[in-house]
Protein backbone atom coordinates (compact mmCIF):
# COMPACT_ATOMS: atom_id res chain seq x y z
CA UNK A 1 0.00 0.00 0.00
CA UNK A 2 1.36 3.39 -0.93
CA UNK A 3 0.22 5.27 2.12
CA UNK A 4 1.55 2.65 4.52
CA UNK A 5 4.93 2.75 2.84
CA UNK A 6 4.90 6.53 2.96
CA UNK A 7 4.25 6.63 6.66
CA UNK A 8 6.81 3.91 7.24
CA UNK A 9 9.40 5.92 5.29
CA UNK A 10 8.76 9.01 7.35
CA UNK A 11 8.84 7.04 10.57
CA UNK A 12 12.11 5.30 9.71
CA UNK A 13 13.72 8.53 8.59
CA UNK A 14 12.76 10.32 11.78
CA UNK A 15 13.97 7.41 13.87
CA UNK A 16 17.36 7.14 12.22
CA UNK A 17 17.89 10.89 12.30
CA UNK A 18 17.07 10.93 15.99
CA UNK A 19 19.52 8.10 16.50
CA UNK A 20 22.25 10.19 14.91
CA UNK A 21 21.32 13.18 17.00
CA UNK A 22 21.45 11.05 20.13
CA UNK A 23 25.00 10.04 19.31
CA UNK A 24 26.24 13.59 18.73
CA UNK A 25 24.24 14.76 21.72
CA UNK A 26 26.01 12.13 23.79
CA UNK A 27 29.38 13.38 22.60
CA UNK A 28 28.33 16.94 23.34
CA UNK A 29 27.33 16.21 26.90
CA UNK A 30 30.15 13.77 27.66
CA UNK A 31 33.09 15.98 26.90
CA UNK A 32 35.84 13.69 28.10
CA UNK A 33 37.41 11.75 25.28
CA UNK A 34 39.24 14.17 22.95
CA UNK A 35 40.76 13.10 19.68
CA UNK A 36 42.50 16.40 18.95
CA UNK A 37 46.28 16.06 18.91
CA UNK A 38 47.76 19.40 19.96
CA UNK A 39 50.68 18.65 17.72
CA UNK A 40 53.76 20.74 18.33
CA UNK A 41 52.98 20.85 22.06
CA UNK A 42 52.73 17.12 22.51
CA UNK A 43 55.73 16.23 20.36
CA UNK A 44 57.31 14.20 23.15
CA UNK A 45 54.26 12.16 24.01
CA UNK A 46 52.88 11.89 20.50
CA UNK A 47 51.40 8.49 19.93
CA UNK A 48 50.82 7.46 16.34
CA UNK A 49 48.58 4.58 15.41
CA UNK A 50 50.37 1.42 14.42
CA UNK A 51 49.18 1.58 10.82
CA UNK A 52 50.17 5.20 10.31
CA UNK A 53 52.14 5.54 7.05
CA UNK A 54 54.75 8.28 6.89
CA UNK A 55 57.28 7.28 4.25
CA UNK A 56 58.88 4.21 2.70
CA UNK A 57 62.18 3.16 4.26
CA UNK A 58 64.51 0.25 3.64
CA UNK A 59 65.51 -1.87 6.60
CA UNK A 60 69.20 -2.27 7.32
CA UNK A 61 70.69 -4.46 10.02
CA UNK A 62 73.80 -3.75 12.13
CA UNK A 63 76.16 -5.05 9.41
CA UNK A 64 74.69 -2.51 6.97
CA UNK A 65 72.98 -5.33 5.09
CA UNK A 66 69.50 -5.15 3.61
CA UNK A 67 67.12 -7.68 2.10
CA UNK A 68 66.51 -6.09 -1.31
CA UNK A 69 67.28 -8.32 -4.26
CA UNK A 70 66.57 -5.69 -6.89
CA UNK A 71 63.63 -7.63 -8.29
CA UNK A 72 61.75 -4.36 -9.12
CA UNK A 73 58.45 -5.81 -7.94
CA UNK A 74 57.88 -2.67 -5.89
CA UNK A 75 58.64 -0.44 -8.86
CA UNK A 76 56.04 -2.28 -10.92
CA UNK A 77 53.51 -2.22 -8.13
CA UNK A 78 53.72 1.50 -7.58
CA UNK A 79 50.78 3.29 -9.22
CA UNK A 80 52.56 6.60 -9.64
CA UNK A 81 56.15 5.77 -10.49
CA UNK A 82 57.53 6.79 -7.15
CA UNK A 83 60.19 4.09 -7.08
CA UNK A 84 63.04 3.65 -9.48
CA UNK A 85 65.34 0.64 -8.97
CA UNK A 86 68.77 0.96 -10.54
CA UNK A 87 70.44 -2.42 -10.68
CA UNK A 88 74.02 -3.46 -11.19
CA UNK A 89 75.74 -6.82 -11.57
CA UNK A 90 77.93 -8.15 -8.77
CA UNK A 91 80.56 -10.83 -9.45
CA UNK A 92 80.11 -13.64 -6.97
CA UNK A 93 83.26 -15.40 -5.59
CA UNK A 94 82.73 -18.35 -7.96
CA UNK A 95 82.90 -15.98 -10.94
CA UNK A 96 79.20 -15.80 -11.71
CA UNK A 97 77.37 -12.55 -12.40
CA UNK A 98 74.57 -11.74 -9.98
CA UNK A 99 71.93 -9.02 -10.23
CA UNK A 100 72.01 -6.65 -7.28
CA UNK A 101 70.68 -3.25 -6.33
CA UNK A 102 72.73 -0.16 -7.02
CA UNK A 103 70.31 2.55 -6.04
CA UNK A 104 66.77 2.47 -4.70
CA UNK A 105 65.47 5.89 -5.73
CA UNK A 106 62.38 6.97 -3.89
CA UNK A 107 60.48 10.15 -4.77
CA UNK A 108 58.72 11.09 -1.59
CA UNK A 109 56.99 13.98 -3.33
CA UNK A 110 55.13 11.51 -5.59
CA UNK A 111 54.26 8.93 -2.98
CA UNK A 112 50.65 8.58 -1.87
CA UNK A 113 51.48 6.21 1.01
CA UNK A 114 49.32 3.53 -0.54
CA UNK A 115 51.40 0.67 0.85
CA UNK A 116 51.28 -1.33 -2.41
CA UNK A 117 55.06 -1.53 -2.74
CA UNK A 118 55.36 -2.94 0.76
CA UNK A 119 52.84 -5.65 -0.06
CA UNK A 120 54.56 -6.42 -3.36
CA UNK A 121 58.04 -6.92 -1.93
CA UNK A 122 58.75 -10.66 -1.72
CA UNK A 123 61.52 -10.29 0.84
CA UNK A 124 60.03 -7.62 3.11
CA UNK A 125 62.97 -5.35 2.45
CA UNK A 126 61.01 -2.13 2.75
CA UNK A 127 58.44 -0.90 5.19
CA UNK A 128 56.48 2.18 6.15
CA UNK A 129 58.07 4.44 8.73
CA UNK A 130 56.11 6.67 11.10
CA UNK A 131 58.03 9.86 10.41
CA UNK A 132 55.86 12.63 9.05
CA UNK A 133 57.74 15.91 9.29
CA UNK A 134 58.74 16.01 5.66
CA UNK A 135 58.87 19.73 4.95
CA UNK A 136 62.05 20.86 3.22
CA UNK A 137 63.13 24.06 1.52
CA UNK A 138 64.10 22.48 -1.75
CA UNK A 139 61.99 19.96 -3.58
CA UNK A 140 65.01 17.95 -4.72
CA UNK A 141 65.62 16.96 -1.09
CA UNK A 142 62.51 14.81 -1.30
CA UNK A 143 64.16 12.44 -3.76
CA UNK A 144 65.87 9.91 -1.57
CA UNK A 145 68.21 6.97 -2.03
CA UNK A 146 66.89 4.35 0.34
CA UNK A 147 69.78 1.89 0.39
CA UNK A 148 72.55 3.23 2.60
CA UNK A 149 75.94 3.83 0.98
CA UNK A 150 78.16 0.76 1.11
CA UNK A 151 75.29 -1.51 2.07
CA UNK A 152 74.92 -4.90 0.50
CA UNK A 153 72.42 -7.66 0.37
CA UNK A 154 72.35 -10.09 3.25
CA UNK A 155 73.83 -13.53 2.65
CA UNK A 156 71.32 -16.14 1.58
CA UNK A 157 68.52 -13.85 0.44
CA UNK A 158 67.51 -14.72 -3.08
Amino acid sequence: MFIVKYIKDVWNAVRSLLKGMRRTGYYFTHHKEIITQQYPDNKDTLHLPERFKGEVVMLHDENNEHLCTGCTACELACPNATIKIITKFDITPDGKKKKAIDKFVYHLELCTMCNLCIIACPTDAIKMAQTFEHSVFDRSELTKILNKPGSKIKEGVE
Partner: protein, 358 residues
Protein backbone atom coordinates in the same frame (compact mmCIF):
# COMPACT_ATOMS: atom_id res chain seq x y z
CA UNK B 1 12.76 46.36 38.14
CA UNK B 2 15.30 46.80 35.41
CA UNK B 3 13.87 46.02 31.98
CA UNK B 4 14.34 46.81 28.31
CA UNK B 5 10.94 48.46 28.04
CA UNK B 6 11.76 50.71 31.03
CA UNK B 7 14.95 51.90 29.37
CA UNK B 8 13.29 52.52 26.04
CA UNK B 9 10.41 54.37 27.66
CA UNK B 10 12.67 56.66 29.65
CA UNK B 11 14.74 57.41 26.53
CA UNK B 12 11.55 58.18 24.65
CA UNK B 13 10.24 60.47 27.39
CA UNK B 14 13.51 62.33 27.66
CA UNK B 15 13.73 62.79 23.91
CA UNK B 16 10.14 64.00 23.54
CA UNK B 17 10.67 66.52 26.33
CA UNK B 18 13.83 67.89 24.75
CA UNK B 19 13.02 67.85 21.03
CA UNK B 20 9.96 68.31 18.82
CA UNK B 21 8.07 65.15 17.70
CA UNK B 22 9.64 64.84 14.22
CA UNK B 23 13.16 65.14 15.54
CA UNK B 24 12.34 62.65 18.29
CA UNK B 25 11.23 60.09 15.73
CA UNK B 26 14.35 60.63 13.66
CA UNK B 27 16.67 60.31 16.65
CA UNK B 28 14.85 57.21 17.80
CA UNK B 29 15.24 55.66 14.38
CA UNK B 30 18.97 56.36 14.45
CA UNK B 31 19.26 54.86 17.91
CA UNK B 32 17.35 51.77 16.77
CA UNK B 33 19.57 51.42 13.71
CA UNK B 34 22.74 51.67 15.76
CA UNK B 35 21.35 49.20 18.27
CA UNK B 36 20.51 46.72 15.51
CA UNK B 37 23.99 47.03 14.00
CA UNK B 38 25.50 46.58 17.43
CA UNK B 39 23.34 43.53 18.00
CA UNK B 40 24.50 42.13 14.65
CA UNK B 41 28.14 42.54 15.55
CA UNK B 42 27.59 40.96 18.93
CA UNK B 43 25.56 38.10 17.47
CA UNK B 44 28.19 37.44 14.84
CA UNK B 45 30.92 37.15 17.45
CA UNK B 46 28.89 35.01 19.82
CA UNK B 47 27.35 32.70 17.24
CA UNK B 48 30.63 32.00 15.43
CA UNK B 49 32.41 30.96 18.60
CA UNK B 50 29.33 29.00 19.68
CA UNK B 51 29.16 27.19 16.37
CA UNK B 52 32.82 26.28 16.49
CA UNK B 53 32.69 25.09 20.07
CA UNK B 54 29.49 23.10 19.54
CA UNK B 55 30.86 21.47 16.41
CA UNK B 56 34.10 20.63 18.17
CA UNK B 57 32.37 19.07 21.14
CA UNK B 58 30.08 17.03 18.94
CA UNK B 59 33.03 15.68 17.00
CA UNK B 60 35.09 14.95 20.14
CA UNK B 61 37.52 17.74 19.28
CA UNK B 62 38.72 20.67 21.32
CA UNK B 63 37.80 23.53 19.03
CA UNK B 64 39.42 26.95 19.22
CA UNK B 65 41.47 27.07 22.42
CA UNK B 66 44.35 29.49 21.91
CA UNK B 67 43.02 33.06 21.77
CA UNK B 68 41.82 34.23 25.15
CA UNK B 69 40.45 32.02 27.94
CA UNK B 70 39.42 28.70 26.38
CA UNK B 71 39.61 30.31 22.95
CA UNK B 72 36.69 32.62 23.62
CA UNK B 73 38.22 35.53 21.68
CA UNK B 74 38.78 33.48 18.55
CA UNK B 75 35.99 35.21 16.64
CA UNK B 76 37.45 38.64 17.48
CA UNK B 77 40.73 37.51 15.96
CA UNK B 78 38.88 36.18 12.93
CA UNK B 79 37.06 39.48 12.49
CA UNK B 80 40.34 41.36 12.64
CA UNK B 81 41.77 39.07 10.00
CA UNK B 82 38.79 39.59 7.71
CA UNK B 83 38.94 43.36 8.20
CA UNK B 84 42.55 43.68 7.07
CA UNK B 85 42.12 41.34 4.11
CA UNK B 86 41.86 42.76 0.64
CA UNK B 87 38.36 42.71 -0.85
CA UNK B 88 38.96 41.55 -4.40
CA UNK B 89 36.53 42.09 -7.26
CA UNK B 90 37.19 39.69 -10.14
CA UNK B 91 37.84 41.33 -13.52
CA UNK B 92 35.02 39.53 -15.29
CA UNK B 93 32.48 40.28 -12.57
CA UNK B 94 29.56 42.65 -12.84
CA UNK B 95 31.03 45.26 -10.47
CA UNK B 96 27.83 46.92 -9.31
CA UNK B 97 25.87 43.77 -8.57
CA UNK B 98 28.91 42.03 -7.13
CA UNK B 99 29.47 44.78 -4.59
CA UNK B 100 25.78 45.27 -3.90
CA UNK B 101 24.90 41.66 -3.11
CA UNK B 102 26.43 41.40 0.40
CA UNK B 103 24.73 44.62 1.42
CA UNK B 104 21.36 43.37 0.23
CA UNK B 105 21.89 40.29 2.36
CA UNK B 106 22.57 42.51 5.36
CA UNK B 107 19.69 44.86 4.65
CA UNK B 108 17.27 41.94 4.47
CA UNK B 109 18.57 40.67 7.78
CA UNK B 110 18.15 44.15 9.32
CA UNK B 111 14.60 44.51 8.03
CA UNK B 112 13.72 41.19 9.60
CA UNK B 113 14.73 42.50 13.01
CA UNK B 114 11.82 44.97 13.02
CA UNK B 115 8.90 42.84 14.24
CA UNK B 116 10.86 40.68 16.68
CA UNK B 117 9.88 41.17 20.31
CA UNK B 118 13.07 40.95 22.32
CA UNK B 119 11.41 41.45 25.67
CA UNK B 120 8.11 42.47 27.17
CA UNK B 121 6.94 45.64 25.35
CA UNK B 122 10.29 45.91 23.62
CA UNK B 123 9.89 45.71 19.89
CA UNK B 124 11.00 47.96 17.04
CA UNK B 125 7.79 47.86 15.10
CA UNK B 126 4.66 45.98 16.17
CA UNK B 127 2.89 46.05 12.83
CA UNK B 128 -0.43 44.26 12.47
CA UNK B 129 0.84 41.89 9.76
CA UNK B 130 4.11 41.02 11.53
CA UNK B 131 4.21 37.36 10.53
CA UNK B 132 3.33 38.08 6.92
CA UNK B 133 6.00 40.79 6.87
CA UNK B 134 8.61 38.30 8.07
CA UNK B 135 7.77 35.73 5.41
CA UNK B 136 7.68 38.41 2.72
CA UNK B 137 11.03 39.95 3.62
CA UNK B 138 12.83 36.68 4.27
CA UNK B 139 12.11 35.56 0.72
CA UNK B 140 14.14 38.57 -0.49
CA UNK B 141 17.22 36.79 0.84
CA UNK B 142 17.36 34.68 -2.31
CA UNK B 143 17.82 37.82 -4.40
CA UNK B 144 21.13 38.64 -2.79
CA UNK B 145 22.32 35.06 -3.26
CA UNK B 146 21.27 34.97 -6.91
CA UNK B 147 22.85 38.37 -7.43
CA UNK B 148 26.12 37.25 -5.91
CA UNK B 149 26.16 34.06 -7.92
CA UNK B 150 25.33 35.74 -11.18
CA UNK B 151 27.64 38.72 -10.78
CA UNK B 152 30.67 36.63 -9.84
CA UNK B 153 30.93 35.31 -13.40
CA UNK B 154 31.99 31.93 -12.09
CA UNK B 155 30.44 28.54 -12.75
CA UNK B 156 30.57 27.44 -9.14
CA UNK B 157 28.94 30.62 -7.93
CA UNK B 158 26.17 30.46 -10.49
CA UNK B 159 25.50 26.81 -9.73
CA UNK B 160 25.33 27.51 -6.02
CA UNK B 161 23.01 30.44 -6.58
CA UNK B 162 20.64 28.45 -8.80
CA UNK B 163 20.49 25.65 -6.28
CA UNK B 164 19.79 28.04 -3.50
CA UNK B 165 17.06 29.65 -5.58
CA UNK B 166 15.31 26.30 -6.05
CA UNK B 167 15.78 25.47 -2.42
CA UNK B 168 14.57 28.70 -0.85
CA UNK B 169 11.57 28.98 -3.14
CA UNK B 170 10.40 25.47 -2.30
CA UNK B 171 11.09 25.48 1.42
CA UNK B 172 9.39 28.82 1.84
CA UNK B 173 6.12 26.95 1.26
CA UNK B 174 6.33 24.57 4.17
CA UNK B 175 7.77 27.26 6.43
CA UNK B 176 4.84 29.46 5.50
CA UNK B 177 2.31 26.69 6.07
CA UNK B 178 3.65 25.86 9.50
CA UNK B 179 3.65 29.55 10.43
CA UNK B 180 0.06 29.70 9.19
CA UNK B 181 -1.01 26.96 11.55
CA UNK B 182 -0.04 29.14 14.50
CA UNK B 183 -1.76 32.10 12.90
CA UNK B 184 -4.90 29.98 12.61
CA UNK B 185 -4.73 29.09 16.29
CA UNK B 186 -4.10 32.68 17.36
CA UNK B 187 -6.34 34.41 14.88
CA UNK B 188 -3.91 37.27 14.45
CA UNK B 189 -0.84 38.15 12.41
CA UNK B 190 0.42 40.63 14.96
CA UNK B 191 3.48 39.40 16.83
CA UNK B 192 2.43 40.84 20.18
CA UNK B 193 -1.01 39.17 19.92
CA UNK B 194 0.63 35.85 19.15
CA UNK B 195 2.83 36.16 22.22
CA UNK B 196 -0.08 37.30 24.38
CA UNK B 197 -2.15 34.30 23.30
CA UNK B 198 0.50 32.04 24.88
CA UNK B 199 0.17 33.52 28.36
CA UNK B 200 -1.46 30.33 29.65
CA UNK B 201 0.90 27.92 27.89
CA UNK B 202 3.02 27.87 24.78
CA UNK B 203 1.47 26.75 21.52
CA UNK B 204 3.73 23.74 21.27
CA UNK B 205 2.02 22.40 24.42
CA UNK B 206 -1.43 23.83 23.87
CA UNK B 207 -1.66 22.77 20.23
CA UNK B 208 -1.24 19.04 20.86
CA UNK B 209 0.47 16.93 18.18
CA UNK B 210 -0.35 19.14 15.16
CA UNK B 211 1.57 22.01 16.75
CA UNK B 212 4.54 19.72 17.33
CA UNK B 213 4.44 18.61 13.70
CA UNK B 214 4.20 22.24 12.60
CA UNK B 215 7.16 23.06 14.82
CA UNK B 216 9.28 20.26 13.37
CA UNK B 217 8.46 21.19 9.77
CA UNK B 218 9.16 24.82 10.61
CA UNK B 219 12.59 24.00 12.00
CA UNK B 220 13.46 21.82 8.99
CA UNK B 221 12.23 24.42 6.51
CA UNK B 222 14.06 27.32 8.11
CA UNK B 223 17.25 25.30 8.29
CA UNK B 224 16.91 24.92 4.55
CA UNK B 225 15.99 28.55 4.07
CA UNK B 226 19.08 29.78 5.86
CA UNK B 227 21.24 27.49 3.69
CA UNK B 228 22.73 25.58 6.55
CA UNK B 229 23.83 21.98 6.57
CA UNK B 230 22.30 19.46 5.87
CA UNK B 231 20.81 21.80 3.26
CA UNK B 232 23.92 23.85 2.49
CA UNK B 233 23.82 23.05 -1.21
CA UNK B 234 24.34 26.68 -2.07
CA UNK B 235 27.80 26.46 -0.52
CA UNK B 236 28.61 22.75 -0.73
CA UNK B 237 32.34 23.06 -0.08
CA UNK B 238 33.07 19.62 -1.42
CA UNK B 239 31.45 20.26 -4.81
CA UNK B 240 31.34 24.00 -5.39
CA UNK B 241 34.30 25.33 -3.33
CA UNK B 242 32.14 27.91 -1.59
CA UNK B 243 29.11 28.20 -3.85
CA UNK B 244 27.73 31.66 -4.33
CA UNK B 245 30.45 33.39 -2.30
CA UNK B 246 33.42 31.66 -3.95
CA UNK B 247 34.69 34.94 -5.37
CA UNK B 248 34.17 37.04 -2.28
CA UNK B 249 36.95 37.94 0.09
CA UNK B 250 37.65 40.22 3.00
CA UNK B 251 34.81 42.22 4.47
CA UNK B 252 32.36 41.43 1.68
CA UNK B 253 32.72 37.76 2.48
CA UNK B 254 32.36 38.59 6.17
CA UNK B 255 29.05 40.30 5.46
CA UNK B 256 27.67 37.14 3.86
CA UNK B 257 28.98 35.13 6.74
CA UNK B 258 27.43 37.51 9.24
CA UNK B 259 24.15 37.55 7.33
CA UNK B 260 23.98 33.76 7.56
CA UNK B 261 24.35 33.81 11.33
CA UNK B 262 22.00 36.73 11.81
CA UNK B 263 19.43 34.93 9.69
CA UNK B 264 19.79 31.85 11.84
CA UNK B 265 19.18 34.03 14.88
CA UNK B 266 16.15 35.64 13.29
CA UNK B 267 14.45 32.43 12.19
CA UNK B 268 15.09 30.93 15.60
CA UNK B 269 13.66 34.04 17.23
CA UNK B 270 10.57 33.71 15.08
CA UNK B 271 10.30 30.02 15.87
CA UNK B 272 10.61 30.83 19.55
CA UNK B 273 7.97 33.53 19.23
CA UNK B 274 5.47 31.39 17.38
CA UNK B 275 5.85 28.06 19.13
CA UNK B 276 7.64 28.69 22.41
CA UNK B 277 5.96 31.89 23.48
CA UNK B 278 8.61 34.49 22.69
CA UNK B 279 9.40 36.42 25.86
CA UNK B 280 6.44 34.81 27.64
CA UNK B 281 7.61 32.92 30.74
CA UNK B 282 6.79 29.26 31.14
CA UNK B 283 3.21 29.16 32.37
CA UNK B 284 1.06 26.15 33.11
CA UNK B 285 -2.67 26.75 32.78
CA UNK B 286 -3.99 28.32 35.96
CA UNK B 287 -1.30 27.45 38.48
CA UNK B 288 -1.07 31.00 39.76
CA UNK B 289 1.77 30.35 42.22
CA UNK B 290 4.01 28.58 39.72
CA UNK B 291 3.31 31.17 37.04
CA UNK B 292 4.15 33.94 39.45
CA UNK B 293 7.55 32.44 40.25
CA UNK B 294 8.29 32.11 36.53
CA UNK B 295 7.41 35.77 36.02
CA UNK B 296 10.37 36.77 38.16
CA UNK B 297 12.79 35.66 35.45
CA UNK B 298 13.19 38.68 33.13
CA UNK B 299 11.35 38.39 29.83
CA UNK B 300 14.50 39.15 27.80
CA UNK B 301 16.19 36.14 29.39
CA UNK B 302 13.26 33.94 28.39
CA UNK B 303 13.43 35.22 24.84
CA UNK B 304 17.18 34.80 24.40
CA UNK B 305 17.14 31.47 26.21
CA UNK B 306 14.55 30.00 23.85
CA UNK B 307 16.20 31.51 20.79
CA UNK B 308 19.60 30.16 21.68
CA UNK B 309 18.11 26.79 22.43
CA UNK B 310 16.68 26.68 18.89
CA UNK B 311 19.99 27.90 17.47
CA UNK B 312 21.67 25.06 19.30
CA UNK B 313 19.19 22.59 17.79
CA UNK B 314 19.96 23.90 14.30
CA UNK B 315 23.68 23.58 14.98
CA UNK B 316 23.05 20.10 16.26
CA UNK B 317 21.46 19.25 12.88
CA UNK B 318 24.40 20.71 11.06
CA UNK B 319 27.01 18.65 12.84
CA UNK B 320 25.03 15.41 12.77
CA UNK B 321 23.48 15.00 9.34
CA UNK B 322 25.21 14.55 5.98
CA UNK B 323 24.35 16.94 3.17
CA UNK B 324 21.44 16.07 0.88
CA UNK B 325 21.73 15.85 -2.87
CA UNK B 326 19.71 18.41 -4.83
CA UNK B 327 17.09 15.86 -5.96
CA UNK B 328 16.79 14.45 -2.44
CA UNK B 329 16.39 17.97 -1.18
CA UNK B 330 13.51 18.73 -3.52
CA UNK B 331 11.97 15.31 -2.89
CA UNK B 332 11.98 15.97 0.81
CA UNK B 333 10.17 19.23 0.32
CA UNK B 334 7.63 18.37 -2.37
CA UNK B 335 6.88 14.77 -1.45
CA UNK B 336 7.12 14.87 2.30
CA UNK B 337 7.18 18.25 4.02
CA UNK B 338 4.63 20.03 1.85
CA UNK B 339 1.89 17.35 1.95
CA UNK B 340 2.47 16.75 5.63
CA UNK B 341 2.25 20.41 6.50
CA UNK B 342 -0.86 20.83 4.34
CA UNK B 343 -2.67 17.99 6.10
CA UNK B 344 -1.38 19.36 9.36
CA UNK B 345 -2.76 22.80 8.60
CA UNK B 346 -6.12 21.20 7.94
CA UNK B 347 -5.98 19.43 11.31
CA UNK B 348 -5.01 22.63 13.07
CA UNK B 349 -7.86 24.48 11.44
CA UNK B 350 -10.35 21.81 12.51
CA UNK B 351 -8.89 21.99 15.99
CA UNK B 352 -9.20 25.75 16.11
CA UNK B 353 -12.81 25.67 14.94
CA UNK B 354 -13.81 22.93 17.36
CA UNK B 355 -11.82 24.62 20.16
CA UNK B 356 -9.95 21.45 21.06
CA UNK B 357 -6.86 23.27 22.17
CA UNK B 358 -6.60 24.48 25.74
Amino acid sequence: MWSFSGISNSIHEWLSQTFNPTLTIIIEMVIAGVAVIGLFAGLGLVLVIMERKVSAWMQIRLGPNRVGPKGMFQSLADTLKLLVKEGLTPTGADKLLFNLAPFIAMIVAMLLMAPIAFAKDFQLWDLNIGVLYVSAISSMMVISILMAGWASNNKYSLMGAMRSGAQIVSYELSAGLSVLSIVVLTGSLRVSDIIQSQADGWWIFKGHIPAVIAFVTFIIAVTAETNRAPFDLAEAESELTAGFHTEYSGMKFALFFLAEYVNVFIVCAIGATLFLGGWMPFHIGHWAGFNHVMDYIPSSLWFFGKTFFLIFVIMWFRWTFPRLRIDQLLNLEWKYLLPISMVNLLLVTAMAILKWHF
